[in-house]
Amino acid sequence: MDPTRDNPILRFNTFWWALWTFLIFGVLLAAVIVFNPKPPTNLEDAAAVARYVTKDKVTEAQAAALSSAEIAAAIPKIAADLPSSKPAAVEKPEQVVPGSPTALKLGAVAAAAPNGASASAGVSPPAPSQPPAEAVTPPASKDGGQDARPTAPSATPAKP
């Protein structure tokens, strides 16, 4: 055995070199993390700003709403009053079932009234809410129409 190749000093040096070799990646990584403390800025962070604004609005609205405990406390009282109360006729036009006798009656009243009065009086049954035809028609596809879908029927504009 070559005595110059195996001696305590070489073994001692190699021990520390081995430790350094094993841990060098971790040390370099720690250095990068420690000396690069600025927060990351990317698309995700930019989108998060808008999301947090929306989240604050939702949280605020939820806080303003009745709490579930209040609703739960109110239910027995309302349930107790309900059998003894007399049903009242629905008077709000937006709550009338389309096509029902009440709706027909309200429609007749609205037709008899002069233009413009019905809207202000609020007696006309609401027109079915549908988006304009342009909004539901997809643009023409570029593949010769193979992927084209049937367009939705045009919405009937509400009568004035």
Binding site: M1, W17, F22, I33, P40
Partner: protein
């Protein structure tokens, strides 16, 4: 004229006996405790596999829910069996090839006990529900620094032995083993620091975790397996490696390509799109070093005209090398990315991304390649350090055949079943139950195969424990698989 070679042979034998004696207890401790953890891992694999086709099994016990028992199975397989087998083989091979006795057996043994304690705490932590949820890193966070310290305390002495090695030359085996020794702390520290010590983006954390799995497989377990096979094949056959150029090519292509692999598992995730495709391309390219190295070693084994000895070590090594070749084919087959937006493209990656084929690939690498070559090394090393021969060729035969049949069933079942599962997932007009119906027979087959492997490993563990208790055979000839051909060891063995 004959007195000088005779004296050299005697001094070589004395040196080898001294090396074996110095490493007897650490090596036997690692191999035996590793075999015990392997049995635990297989039991956990059976439970998790049963749950895939019979979910009601043990459903009243939270400790054995699928989300806990499956990671416990993989982590005990990796850190309990895989690393300890690698430690036992690695420290012995480095000492033998460097021709250096071990002077730190006590430190290694102590670190081995602490390693086992850490694995035990980690496994209990997973079963208690404290796992991190990151595949292959599920042990609770406090475990990884302990594992790292133990690792350093175990392998740093092999580093020193290599530095002061006799003669100054190095073998191909040493390249792989030394590289694995250095690569593991790099990937382990990098992944754990980034995932456990910093608060990065969660999607990037998943990508780092996917990279860690691939890197651990191809930068630690596969190099240890190939380094061991490069030692065993010439040693057992008495023939040299046919091509040094192929050996260099295999080593350096592995070193260059393997670190880029892994992130293909996140194809379609909100990552920079080049990352998954880079990972897929690198994994496909890994077929080159795997095929080059395994073919080079197989040419060593089959280069002679005479009949191969019925050596258990050689048979296990041969089976492990076949596993490496199959792994190379699977790396190509599973990672052809195709055009992810176009179903008519060759979308193997898309089909297998969320299927059981990933598990099949991992088990093929960990058990079909790595473990088989480690078994070969165990059958080679243990008689030398215990000065006894294996007790029963029948035990070894049962271990070999049941393990081989079992792993073939699991690997092919999971790989092929994964494609079927992916195809069922893509058939979006069908109800989702179709997917589970497709997977069920493969899961049942996997359960049966794990039972077979457990049966085989019970023999292995008992055999190994008996050898450590010095109950092996006293005889001049090694135990061969065919008891009628108990041949003496080849006379032209290399001297290390």
């Amino acid at each position: 004229m004959s007195s000088a070679p005779s004296a050299t042979a005697t001094s070589d034998a004395t040196l080898r006996a001294g090396i074996d004696r110095s490493l007897r207890h650490p090596v036997m401790f690692f191999l035996t405790s590793g075999a015990a953890w392997l049995a635990v891992s297989i039991v956990l694999a059976i439970i998790s596999s049963i749950k895939l086709h019979y979910p009601e099994f043990m459903d009243d016990c939270g400790y054995f829910s699928y989300g806990r028992v499956f990671p416990a199975h993989l982590n005990t397989l990796i850190y309990g069996w895989g690393f300890q087998a690698a430690f036992g083989v690695l420290i012995w091979l480095m000492a033998r090839m460097s021709r250096q006795e071990c002077r730190a057996a006590g430190t290694i043994l102590t670190a081995g006990h602490v390693w086992n304690l850490a694995v035990l705490l980690g496994t209990v932590g997973i079963l208690r529900g404290s796992g991190t949820g990151m595949p292959w890193m599920e042990f609770p966070t406090f475990v990884w620094p302990g594992l790292l310290l133990c690792y350093v305390a175990i392998v740093v002495w092999s580093f020193i032995q290599f530095r002061v090695r006799d003669g100054g030359r190095s073998y191909v085996s040493q390249w792989y083993l030394l590289a694995a020794m250095i690569w593991f702390p790099w990937i382990f520290v990098t992944a754990n620091v980034l995932l456990n010590c910093t608060s990065g983006h969660p999607v990037m954390a998943a990508a780092i975790n996917a990279w860690f799995k691939s890197a651990l497989m191809f930068l630690f377990f596969i190099p240890v397996a190939l380094g061991t096979a490069y030692y065993l094949a010439p040693k057992l056959t008495g023939r040299p490696i046919p091509s040094a150029s192929f050996a260099r090519l295999g080593f350096w292509t592995l070193a260059v390509v393997a670190p880029w692999a892994g992130m293909q598992k996140l194809a379609g995730a909100p990552l920079p799109v080049f990352l998954p495709y880079l990972g897929a391309a690198a994994t496909v390219l890994l077929a080159v070093p795997l095929a080059v190295a395994s073919v080079n070693i197989l040419r060593t084994i089959f280069s002679g005209e005479e009949k191969l000895p019925k050596s258990p070590a050689l048979h296990f090594t041969l089976a492990g090398l076949m596993g490496v070749l199959l792994l190379a084919v699977a790396a190509i087959a599973l990672n052809l990315p195709g055009r992810l937006q176009d179903p008519s493209g060759p979308a193997a990656l898309k089909l297998t991304q969320f299927s059981i084929s990933g598990y099949g690939f991992e088990i093929l690498a960990l058990y079909g390649c790595f473990s088989f070559i480690m078994f070969g090394a165990v059958y080679f090393i243990v008689p030398r350090i215990t000065c006894r021969e294996w007790i029963s060729s029948r035990f070894i035969n049962m271990h070999f055949f049941f393990s081989a049949y079992g792993i073939v069933a699991i690997a092919f079942g999971a790989l092929f079943g994964g494609f079927m599962q992916g195809s069922a997932q893509e058939a979006w007009l069908q109800p989702w139950e179709t997917v589970t119906d497709v997977v069920r027979p493969y899961a049942a087959m996997s359960t049966f195969a794990w039972c077979v492997i457990l049966f085989s490993n019970v023999f292995f563990f008992v055999h190994l424990a008996l050898m450590w208790l010095h109950l092996g055979l006293r005889g001049p000839n090694p135990t061969m698989l065919d008891s009628s051909t108990n041949l003496p060891a080849p006379a032209t063995q290399p001297s290390h």
